[in-house]
């Protein structure tokens, strides 16, 4: 703090601290504490608030842990988010390597611009686009049929298929960029040295490139998992009758049951899930917070 005053003087330091404090307190810490507090309060009519029934309770969490359906949806959300993360990793790694080490920096710039176009188009529209493509009477089936690859249309949007396709498409770029950043910082001489020593391609990647890219892989996985598990748009637009996503349950509590307390408990569980995943990744892949979202 003294360093700050020495550097920017008293008045500016005051403004700097006030703005940061407003952000961290009023927009980050306190709202999350309130969320936590809310999740431990009973869902009761307004006139009973402050009355004898208004005491802390675990009932909202009990609702979740005693509901096999909700537990299952939670489990499936975790499972399919992990699957999405894995698919994105497999798709993104060669791209990141290509951009960082194969193409020239000048061309990489152009490739990046092309990659970025979909990012500027909103998530809701991208999901919508896939709902058009995957329709039973849609262009994908028509094209496959026209090519003589299929006799009759395929129902693409069964189970979690639609959601998986949509999530991968929407979030794969969040895997490409961190891995690209990580690989880019690898000295090309190391790759060439490994080649020179006669290492086969897979071994160069396994022993040289991937270990170096670990923090990037970690932060990519964190972003993709968090975004997938927390996605509302993709599951509601591309889901099927049998695919339910945990965020949809949270929405239900808020907008259909108007039970904000139980909704808060469920939202808090989602937060816990993401926090657990983040710390797991940070530990497993040696990611530091500084590496994330660079």
């Amino acid at each position: 703090m003294t360093a700050l005053v020495q550097r920017y003087g008293g008045a500016l330091t005051g403004i700097i601290i006030a703005l940061t404090a407003f952000w961290l307190l009023a927009m980050v810490i306190l709202p999350n504490l309130i969320l936590l507090e809310f999740s431990f309060r009973p869902y009761i009519p307004v006139d009973q608030m402050g009355g004898p029934n208004d005491h802390y309770t675990l009932a909202n969490y009990a609702t979740f842990f005693t509901s096999p359906i909700h537990l299952q949806i939670f489990g499936l959300t975790v499972f399919y988010s992990s699957v999405v993360t894995l698919i994105c990793l497999v798709l993104a790694y060669p791209l990141a390597y290509f951009l960082a080490k194969v193409s020239t920096p000048r061309n990489a710039g152009t490739w990046f611009l092309l990659l970025l176009i979909p990012l500027w188009v909103s998530e809701v529209l991208r999901s919508f686009a896939w709902s058009i493509i995957l329709a039973y009477q849609g262009p994908l089936n028509a094209a496959l049929h026209g090519l003589g690859l299929i006799d009759k249309g395929i129902r693409w949007r069964t189970g979690f298929n639609g959601v998986l396709i949509g999530l991968v498409y929407t979030y794969v770029l969040f895997m490409v960029f961190p891995i690209y950043n990580a690989i880019q910082s690898l000295d090309t001489n190391q790759i060439e040295a490994a080649q020179d020593l006669g290492a086969p391609l897979w071994r160069i990647h396994w022993r040289v490139v991937i270990p170096h890219a670990k923090p990037g892989i970690g932060s990519g996985c964190i972003m993709v998992f968090m975004l997938s598990a927390g996605s509302i748009l993709v599951p509601s637009i591309l889901g099927s009758t049998t695919s339910r996503w945990f965020t949809e349950i949270i929405q239900q509590w808020f907008f259909e049951s108007v039970d904000w307390n139980t909704g808060s408990a469920y939202a808090f569980l989602l937060l816990v899930l993401c926090t657990v995943f983040v710390s797991l990744m940070m530990r497993m892949l040696n990611v530091r917070l500084v590496d994330i979202a660079r």
């Binding site: 940061t20 709202p31 798709l91 176009i117 909103s122 998530e123 686009a129």
Partner: protein, 289 residues
């Protein structure tokens, strides 16, 4: 140039395929905007039409949503760029232990699902008797967009040689003068980048807005309700317009980049190159948290 190799060919082909995979859905969506079919699709192709644009044009709801979106986005920029700058200045000057705690707190909103941010925001302000509405969307969105602004400004700040600030002080400048003449001019590119990112993050945001917006809707919320409820290609018309704006923007950017690259060669100034590369790196931060 490196010699031809099969591996290079395969990986380049993969890159091209991937770009096709990324762009094809946008083409399909755009195509459906000009197909004279009641359903949004390019198949079967019925015929070229502009009527969906007309319908979009006369949709009052859309215009209101658009206006709301712009208002919210501008407010988010106005709020999150100063906050992010203050936070970056702070974190840049504090010492190690406190620094990592603060840094963790500051990037946490990026790693928090949007639904959680939206819900906690509305609960907190409801407690203070502030009703739901676009103002809460602004606060909710800014909570994580400020983190992006902080990261962008911090990256730029770290490239500011601390001895420049000291030199200015030593020459007699007051702290405010150092800020105005040395620090702020150095941060200008980061301000620009942060403002652009903040604006588009806000425009794209759905999760936070859904929970905080109350009865008002922004463009994404409006599109979502349209997509869920009715099947009308006017949304495709909207999408096509957005894609075209993006593509034009991208082309302009690329032209500018090539120009500055050429200028770069002439001037042999390495500082410009940093700006170009930094500019390219920016969009990687966009996340619809």
């Amino acid at each position: 140039m490196r010699p031809f190799s099969l591996g290079r060919l395969i990986i380049t082909a993969y890159m091209v395929l991937f770009i096709v995979y990324l762009l094809a859905p946008l083409v399909v969506m755009g195509g459906a905007a000009v197909n004279n079919s009641r359903f949004p699709s390019i198949y079967p192709w019925v015929g070229l039409t502009g009527r969906w644009f007309g319908e979009l044009w006369s949709d009052q709801q859309m215009w209101r949503a658009l206006l709301n979106t712009v208002l919210v986005a501008v407010a988010v920029v106005v709020l999150s760029v100063p906050i992010g700058t203050a936070a970056a200045l702070l974190i840049n000057s504090v010492q190690s232990r406190m620094r990592s705690t603060l840094y963790g707190l500051m990037v946490a909103p990026i790693l928090t699902p949007g639904a959680v941010i939206g819900i906690s925001t509305i609960l907190f302000w409801n407690k203070l008797s502030v009703p739901a509405g676009l103002h809460l969307s602004v606060l909710g969105q800014s909570s994580f967009i400020s983190a992006y602004a902080m990261l962008l400004v911090l990256a730029r700040l770290q490239s500011l040689d601390a001895s420049l600030e000291e030199a200015a002080l030593d020459l007699g400048a007051s702290h405010a003068q150092v800020m105005r003449r040395i620090v702020v001019p150095h941060l200008y590119p980061a301000f620009g980048a942060a403002a652009v990112i903040a604006f588009f993050q806000s425009v794209e945001n759905f999760n936070v807005t859904l929970f905080t917006g109350g009865n008002s809707s922004t463009l994404t919320v409006y599109v979502f309700s349209q997509v869920r409820a009715g099947i009308t290609p006017k949304i495709n018309a909207l999408a096509l317009i957005m894609v075209l704006i993006t593509v034009v923007g991208v082309i302009l950017y690329e032209v500018k980049r090539r120009q500055s690259e050429r200028r770069l060669k002439v001037e042999q100034e390495d500082t410009l190159e940093d700006d170009v590369i930094e500019g390219l790196g920016l969009p990687q931060l966009t996340s619809p948290a």
